[in-house]
């Protein structure tokens, strides 16, 4: 399964980079989302994956007794998901606004800083 996930991560990165290299701003944002997901999975996988062992302390214990999945990557990814949502939301709205002002979503035509 790890091999499969590694391939998925590689695919997400490749797709993300490819999309970022496009001229359309919408595709660029989609590329960012793909990259973000790829990075999350990467961290997740590198923390080693374990089936059915969530990092929850049992009702009757004061600390983890049995084997458990690593909580640190999970905490990191949770933060990353939320922050990347903030970024995406802002970027999406910014694209909408920019499109209304300059009438294009082609980044090559957004070069002029003056007289828009």
């Amino acid at each position: 399964m790890e091999v499969l996930l590694a391939i998925v991560i590689g695919t997400l990165y490749a797709a993300g980079i490819f999309m970022i290299l496009r001229r359309s701003l919408v595709r660029l944002i989609i590329g960012l989302i793909l990259l973000g997901n790829g990075a999350n999975l990467l961290i997740f996988l590198l923390g080693r994956i374990a089936k059915g062992k969530p990092p929850l302390i049992p009702e009757d214990a004061n600390f983890m007794t049995a084997a458990y999945a690593d909580p640190i990557p999970q905490a990191l990814i949770l933060t990353a998901i939320v922050i990347s949502f903030g970024l995406q939301a802002f970027a999406i709205v910014l694209v909408k606004r920019a499109y209304r002002v300059v009438k294009t979503d082609d980044i090559d035509q957004m070069n002029a800083t003056d007289d828009v």
């Binding site: 590689g10 999945a69 922050i83």
Partner: protein, 762 residues
């Protein structure tokens, strides 16, 4: 002494404070600072040198040790004495100017830096002050910052003197390392070790490079005429009396340490000789008073380098005297030029004449300065010139001939600038020109009178100034006497030839546009053109470089970054990756997992290749949910919930915004796409291999174990992930919430922003 040194810097900071009222008064009062310093240093001057030690950086060989001897004293007299005259003059000159405070603040800063140069005993401290003079000079030359020529000259001056300073720093460090100390006095004490060291030639060459750029020696002289774009008080102060003499100071200061070797003497002799003759010749062809003075200044600096290059005690004496002679008459001539320019609006000697009828005191100052410059008895200049001839006479006829020729040209230049505007009939358009206020004409008149006074009574300065300077440079006591009259001898003959020849030439030469354009044309092949060419080439290179790497296209930046990463990582991995998988990676793939991964991969393909925006966004949602399920499989319930919520929100937001956006540009398979695809796939493959490689290594779970053991014990929470976020790393989470709030405010305002009609484009 340290406080005195730091005082101008404080005054500069105070002067720069903006005030609304009484600006002129403040500017005029600032002249008290150089006057105060002048009195302080005269009061504290002693026959024996004093050293004041002040620590600066304790762990490095950098200190603010101040060494006060005859040589420092002479330069301090120039800096603060002429400085006082300049500050008084500038206060009147800049009256009512909007930025007069700024000018005075920079002048003050410069004065402090210059005092630092001549007082520092530590080489590094000297370098810091040295560069500070270059920087303040840059701001002063570019004072009229709305004038392009002004800005360009300022840059040229900074480029030449600044790079010279940097080269000099290398020399200083070499000298410091060879001698094992950065104190100039201690270096002088072990002169033999330095001079016999194999690196002596390099060190001396590098240091002299700094000195000759600063003192505008050929072929770096061209920045000085350009620097005349500065307001006249600045030209008078920096570019004739003080800053350009910093190079002379440095050469004189280091003469006991590095001097008296064939390399030192011959280099200086050639540089100074070429400069003095070349620049003196050039000065004949200009009609702008300031240009004439600029070239004659370059020439005078050449004479000083030349004299220090001869290196005999006669020539050192001549240099000691000539520094003072030149400072007095040249500052006067500049100030006179400033008055003429200020009152008539012209500096063209071919147009100006007869101004003595409207401004007599100025004319007297100009004439006195021209006389001292010419070396006509009984001026101080006559003594100076005699000493120069006495020094060259001992070295053969060639050098003497050079000196005589230079002095003839300089004499003409002095009369052109100092007397010609005042002689002859008054031009009709200048009938209404009037004498400026006393604060402007008194300083030049005083300086010019000193030039005559010291000539008549050389004993005034013989013991107090000249003897200590001579002692500082040569290391031996001064035994002779300064006098006007030496009897009938060869030197007197040379002086007479100079005066007669010069006066004859003065009446032959008529400054005119034709003459001027001739010399301008000849400059086409000068060193200035070569160095400007180099500068332009550098500029062009920088522009091409920027255009290539900073081209403004996001995708090229990313491609550069990606290719670099692929190159570096790929190279490393090529060498170290074994591509072995061990049994830890062999977790079985169940049917559900297989299906989830398949859905994930299919959705990615749809996202990338779909022609429809909606299909892309929908596939994005599917992909998010598939990842969500992966989290569920592998024991991360919190992540699954977050991912689910966020994924849904993103898709909704996208759909809401999407109908306002243009359709996708259809994806075609052009070479560009293939290039991008290759880069993207390459990077993806690299990440995959990297991941697998990392998975074969052991993982450190120390921190995880801490959280697992302490979540409940310390923080009373059983969901370890949640406890980490809200308790152990609670501060981080607060910052995260702040970031999200900022994003939310941004989103809200972007959606709600309504521009007023005139700013709206739609």
């Amino acid at each position: 002494m340290l406080i005195a040194l730091l005082f101008p810097f404080l005054a500069a900071a105070l002067l720069a404070l903006p005030v609304r009222e009484k600006r002129d008064l403040i500017v005029r009062l600032s002249a008290l600072v150089p006057l105060g310093l002048l009195s302080f240093f005269i009061y504290n001057s002693q026959q024996t040198p004093t050293m004041q030690r002040n620590a600066w950086l304790r762990d490095m060989p950098v200190s603010l040790d101040l060494y006060f001897d005859g040589l420092s004293f002479l330069f301090i007299l120039l800096i603060t004495g002429i400085g006082t005259a300049i500050f008084v003059y500038a206060g009147a000159y800049m009256k009512g100017h909007a930025y007069s405070q700024r000018l005075m603040a920079f002048l003050m800063l410069f004065m402090g830096a210059m005092l630092g140069v001549v007082l520092s005993d530590n080489l590094i401290a000297l370098f810091v002050f040295w560069e500070l003079t270059s920087i303040s000079s840059f701001f002063l030359i570019g004072f009229n910052n709305e004038n392009e020529a002004s800005r360009k000259s300022a840059l040229t001056a900074l480029a030449v003197t600044g790079s010279g300073g940097l080269v000099m720093l290398i020399g200083f460090i070499g000298l410091g390392e060879v001698a094992g100390t950065y104190s100039i006095q201690e270096i002088i004490a072990q002169r033999d070790a330095v001079v016999n060291h194999t690196a002596y030639g390099w060190i001396t060459g590098l240091i002299l490079f700094g000195a000759i750029t600063k003192s505008a020696q050929f072929p770096f002289h061209f920045w000085l005429p350009g620097a005349m774009k500065a307001p006249t008080p600045v030209s008078a102060y920096l570019h004739s009396a003080t800053m350009v003499k910093a190079g002379i100071y440095l050469i004189a200061r280091l003469t006991p340490a590095l001097g008296d070797t064939p390399f030192w003497n011959q280099t200086l002799l050639v540089l100074g000789g070429v400069t003095m003759l070349y620049a003196a010749f050039q000065s004949l062809f200009h009609k702008d008073m300031k240009s004439i003075l600029a070239y004659s200044t370059v020439s005078a600096l050449g004479i000083l380098v030349f004299l220090l290059g001869i290196g005999t005690s006669a020539s050192i004496l001549a240099a000691s005297v000539f520094i003072l002679v030149h400072g007095l008459y040249k500052a006067t001539l500049f100030l006179v030029t400033g008055i003429v320019d200020h009152e008539t609006g012209s500096r063209d000697v071919s147009q100006l004449s007869g101004l003595r009828k409207v401004m007599l005191p100025v004319a007297i100052a100009g004439l006195l300065a021209a006389i001292s410059n010419a070396g006509i008895p009984p001026s101080f200049g006559f003594i100076g010139k005699d000493l120069i001839y006495e020094a060259t006479e001992l070295k053969g006829h060639l050098l003497t001939a050079l000196a005589v020729l230079t002095n003839i040209f300089l004499l003409v230049a002095g009369f052109l600038a100092g007397w010609k505007p005042f002689a002859g009939p008054l031009q009709p358009e200048h009938q209404k020109v009037h004498l400026p206020e006393m604060a402007m004409w008194l300083p030049p008149l005083l300086l010019a009178s000193l030039g005559i006074l010291f000539g008549l009574f050389p004993q005034l300065i013989e013991k107090t100034i000249v003897a200590p300077v001579f002692q500082s440079i040569s290391g031996t006591a001064f035994t002779g006497h300064l006098a006007l009259w030496h009897g009938f001898n060869f030197v007197l003959l040379l002086s007479s030839i100079t005066i007669v020849g010069g006066l004859v030439l003065y009446f032959i030469i008529k400054p005119s546009t034709a003459l001027n354009s001739f010399i301008v044309k000849s400059e086409k092949f000068g060193p200035k053109v070569i160095l400007t060419g180099i500068a332009n080439g550098f500029d062009l290179f920088a522009r091409l470089y920027t255009k290539f790497f900073q081209n403004g296209y996001l995708r090229y930046y990313i491609i550069f970054i990606m290719l670099t990463l692929i190159g570096l990582l790929g190279f490393e991995m090529w060498h170290y990756t074994t591509l072995e998988t061990n049994n830890r990676l062999a977790t079985e793939v169940t049917f559900y997992e297989g299906v989830t991964i398949f859905i994930l991969l299919v959705s990615v393909v749809i996202i990338v290749f779909s022609q429809s925006r909606l299909a892309s966004v929908a596939a994005l949602g599917v992909m998010g949910l598939a990842i969500c399920i992966v989290f569920v499989f592998y024991s991360a319930p919190d992540l699954a919930m977050t991912q689910f919520t966020i994924d849904t929100l993103t898709v909704i937001l996208f759909v809401l915004v999407l109908y306002k956006l243009p359709k996708f540009i259809p994806l075609r398979f052009t070479p560009h796409h293939i290039r991008d695809a290759v880069i993207a796939l390459g990077f993806g493959a690299l990440i995959s291999i990297l991941t697998l490689e990392v998975l074969t290594k052991n993982v450190n779970r120390e921190i995880s174990e801490f959280y697992a053991a302490n979540s409940y014990v310390l923080a009373k929470g059983k969901n370890v992930v949640n406890v980490i976020l809200v308790d152990f790393r609670g501060a981080d989470t607060i910052v995260e919430i702040a970031v999200l709030s900022i994003a939310a405010i941004g989103v809200f305002s972007l959606l709600k922003l309504r521009l007023p009609k005139k700013e709206r484009i739609e």
